[in-house]
């Protein structure tokens, strides 16, 4: 019973941590399934945090009314800007056939630089503190929280973002594995030349996939800044890289990725709580141990999967018609 209470206590935080990682990883799933490595997820998230933060900061004081709607509008806006920013990566890695890893690294460096620059120029400070974030249902979501056992666990003290994200994951699974569009997308990542010979426009497909990854990473960044720190400072604390790690850990499959992100989210929560929660304190582990586990786990996963990796076969290879 004590254990149940402990789980119940930390579950909202686990869900809160997981949401931004999960949606960003789902974005990465699209991009990598189409054959484009996206190391730039971290940078794309930063763009999302910036867009959301600057919109909420400037709009709430102007409109004043219904800040919750403004929060959701800011998420949509972050999606759009994240998508547009990711086109930089698409242009370099698809059109210019550049090294995708280096291009992604450039995105990661460019995003904080440009957003901090703009923040200073527009607001006059590099730290934007938000007056309002996503609404948390402290007393539980009406009706759903009344469900015995599950209601207390999953529908109390949470905000809606995790359900929004879960919906997108299911949608992503459906699109990628159950539609002909998804089949074509996967074909571009497995064997782009064969896909091309069957009349699939590989370049357009990859552009769309990278755009989707930017959209979802932008939303991920927005959800992050609106739930947890409520302050923009050009950082997303490595969540983008955690998303990338989840993608590998989850073997490029939506529901495995869901499991991986829940695991990583759980670890981050334990790390945060290791100084205050009696149950975790009694384990007597240093708090850094929890922080480090996701990264070590990913290395081990790579080692275990190395024989039968599920990575898309053409991942990281620029598509060159001349090679057909």
């Amino acid at each position: 019973m004590e254990f149940y209470h402990f789980i119940q206590e930390i579950m909202p935080y686990i869900l809160g941590f997981t949401a931004p990682i999960l949606i960003t990883a789902t974005g990465g799933l699209f991009s990598e399934r189409s054959g484009v490595v996206n190391i730039g997820l971290e940078g794309l998230m930063v763009v999302g945090t910036f867009t959301s933060a600057i919109f909420v900061k400037s709009m709430v004081s102007v409109l004043g009314v219904m800040p919750q709607y403004m929060v959701w509008v800011s998420i949509l806006l972050a999606a759009l800007v994240g998508g547009l920013f990711s086109l930089l990566h698409a242009y370099a890695s698809v059109s210019l056939k550049a090294d995708q890893v280096i291009s992604g690294t450039a995105i990661n460096l460019l995003a904080p630089a440009i957003t901090l620059f703009l923040a200073e120029g527009l607001i006059g400070t590099q730290n934007i503190t938000l007056p309002v974030g996503l609404k948390r249902y402290d007393n539980g979501i009406p009706l759903l929280s009344k469900i015995p056992f599950i209601g207390e666990l999953f529908f109390t003290s949470v905000n809606l973002s995790i359900y929004f994200v879960l919906l997108i994951v299911i949608l992503a699974w459906f699109i990628i594995f159950k539609t002909s569009y998804g089949l074509r997308l996967r074909a571009c990542g497995e064997n782009p030349h064969a896909a091309d010979s069957m009349g699939v426009n590989v370049v357009r497909m990859r552009y769309q996939a990278v755009f989707i990854s930017g959209v979802l990473a932008g939303i991920g960044g927005a959800i992050f800044v609106l739930t947890y720190p409520l302050e923009f400072n050009g950082l997303v604390n490595g969540l983008g890289f955690l998303a990338l790690a989840s993608l590998i850990f989850g073997k490029w499959r939506p529901f495995n990725v869901l499991g991986a992100t829940l695991f990583f989210g759980g670890m981050s929560t334990l790390a945060t709580f290791s100084q205050v929660n009696e149950t975790i304190k009694s384990l007597q582990l240093p708090r850094e141990a929890f922080n480090i586990i996701p990264f070590i786990a990913t290395i081990i996963a790579l080692l275990v999967f190395s024989r039968n990796s599920n990575a898309p076969k053409a991942l990281g290879e620029p598509y060159d018609t001349g090679k057909r």
Partner: protein, 338 residues
């Protein structure tokens, strides 16, 4: 965008980093520029060395951090030793630490063909948290977020250099960096080992066919690259600054990618491009004060350079096509003449 004349800004960057020093007797600015160049040379060399073998070492930051931590740790613990001895030990443990950190992606790449980029990124975060733990439990200062400071005996700073450069903390690692560049050039261009490394990078199947030990070379290349990154850590953590801030990954490792790409992955190219970046960074601080401009201006420049360097392949193939067309034309011309 900031309403300043871009050319005058660039002139002020250069003024701020070099000329003001030379003409107005204020050498500390020049010294600071050299200080920034030093670490960039080393991170650039680390990236470039791995690139030559076809490996992308994105883990320089982590290797730097762990090597730098060991140097600071030894410097704090053995602070009673005489300077020449302690300094040498610190440098050696830093190199060892960097090499050790690079060993993991090296082994995984060499033996299991696991993508080194992802492993390196994970190792960066492992370095951050392990150093976080080790500093917190062993050498934490009165401030909660940083380690104890190393004393003069462990530091790479020397009085005579500081005197020449009017109190700038430019230090001995400048010479180490230049020696390192020459060494890397020598290994890559004048030894069989270097030739093998480049052959593996060029086409590892062909190298294997020619009887080279591909896996051993990949591992060695990574370890040496990590060792150079460790030296960069020493130059930064016991030269530039004298303590470690916990939870912070040095961004200089990522700048090394830009330095290496812009320097075409050759040692002397790295020296030149590190010079350019160091100049930009230091001059950036100067214009920051002069124009009230965010220092991210320089970060934007650096990341754009990386972005276009990634796309440089396109330009190369374009030039290739151009030269091919030109050659075809001249062949046709010759035929016509005949």
């Amino acid at each position: 965008m900031m309403g300043e004349n871009p050319i005058s800004v660039y002139i002020d960057i250069i003024k701020g980093s070099i000329f003001r020093g030379l003409f107005q007797g204020d050498l500390s600015r020049l010294g600071d520029t050299l200080l920034r160049i030093t670490t960039l040379i080393l991170t650039g060399l680390a990236v470039a060395f791995a690139f030559k073998t076809g490996l992308f070492n994105i883990g320089v930051s982590g290797q730097m951090l762990f090597g730098g931590f060991l140097a600071v740790f030894v410097g704090v613990q053995l602070h009673t030793l005489p300077k020449p001895l302690l300094m040498t030990i610190c440098i050696l443990v830093a190199i060892l630490g960097g090499a050790l950190w690079a060993l993991v992606p090296g082994i995984l790449k060499a033996s299991y063909r696991i993508n080194e980029v992802v492993v390196c990124i994970m190792m960066n975060y492992c370095a951050v948290w392990i150093v976080h733990y080790l500093v917190r439990t062993n050498i934490l200062s009165n401030f909660d977020t940083e380690s104890k400071r190393v004393g003069y005996n462990a530091s790479l700073r020397v009085d005579w250099m500081s005197k020449i450069f009017d109190g700038s903390v430019v230090n001995l690692s400048l010479f180490l960096a230049i020696i390192c560049a020459i060494l890397v050039w020598y290994i890559l261009e004048r030894t069989t080992f270097g030739y093998e490394l480049k052959a593996v990078g060029f086409n590892h199947n062909a190298a294997k066919y020619a009887g080279m030990k591909v896996n051993k070379n990949i591992l060695l290349s990574f370890v040496i690259s990590g060792g150079i990154a460790g030296l960069a850590g020493a130059s930064y953590y016991i030269g530039f600054v004298d303590h470690i801030q916990i939870g912070v990954l040095p961004t200089l490792g990522f700048d090394g990618i830009a330095v290496s790409l812009l320097g075409l992955n050759t040692p002397f190219g790295v020296l030149l491009s590190a010079g350019l970046f160091g100049l930009l960074r230091n001059g950036g601080d100067y214009i920051n004060a002069l124009y009230n401009m965010p220092k991210q201006f320089v970060d934007i420049l650096v990341s754009l350079i990386i972005y276009f360097a990634a796309a440089s392949l396109l330009i190369r193939s374009f030039l290739h096509k151009l030269s091919k067309r030109y050659r075809n034309q001249s062949i046709e011309l010759e035929k016509e003449v005949k």
